[in-house]
Symmetry: C2
DNA sequence: CCTTATACCTTGCGTGAATAGGTATACGCC
DNA sequence: GGCGTATACCTATTCACGCAAGGTATAAGG
């Protein structure tokens, strides 16, 4: 089952991964794949635009490093970003609760 | 918190409501509001286009009635629609599980 | 030199949610 | 009879977003 992500989740997932510590694009994608137990994948076409947007909005900040001759662009959450993440988590949970309420799923399945 | 629905959920919610029995547009909206405990609202601008699309696709069929001098367009799921609903529920649950996995929420919160 | 993996990236497209506004009818109140 | 609210159906347009497709760059192994 190749699940397409839904609007608004890409940014939240990125921010969530970064709340555990700075990371770089490629690795963020890997982390999301792992933590979702391969249920979905953060595609590059969504990932990099999201990183750039969040940086523009002051939610993330970045810096370049070099590792084994390759460039790596690390990102980390700003203080604003942490707050924003809390808001998005709450919003996701409320949405999920509402959707599950309509579907007749509660507390358990999901 | 005025929650915006995410892509793909409108149709699923509509189909879910209809899986319990035929209903008409306005009432479907009310049912979603109730069952989501007012966490969100199915806006008409999303609801009616979704009903029409699902009908075009053979997922729903409709018929008109009149009640107290007003027209009511009832919809019901087709056999195909029931199958499609099962697929969408599974997809939603997998998405939610994956997202919650990344967020570090499991079985409980959501 | 080729292939694969790791790394970053961008444009254009398709899709979907919802705003804003529309028509129509019933009912209660003034 | 007119006004306001609720019930009922509806649509054009806008905006936002996910991602396919394709790009550049470097390392490692065969």
């Amino acid at each position: 089952m190749e699940i397409r992500l839904v609007s608004g989740t890409v940014e939240m997932l990125v921010m969530e991964v970064l709340s555990a510590g700075a990371s770089y694009g490629y690795q963020i994608g890997q982390t999301v794949l792992e933590r979702s137990q391969s249920l979905f994948e953060l595609k590059e076409g969504s990932l990099y635009p999201a990183l750039h947007k969040l940086e523009r909005e002051g939610v993330l900040e970045s810096y370049w490093t070099e590792h084994d001759g390759r460039r790596r662009k690390y990102y980390r959450l700003t203080a604003n970003g942490l707050k924003d993440l809390e808001r998005r988590r709450a919003e996701w949970q409320a949405l999920a609760r509402g959707v599950n309420g309509v579907l007749g799923l509660s507390g358990s399945a999901s």
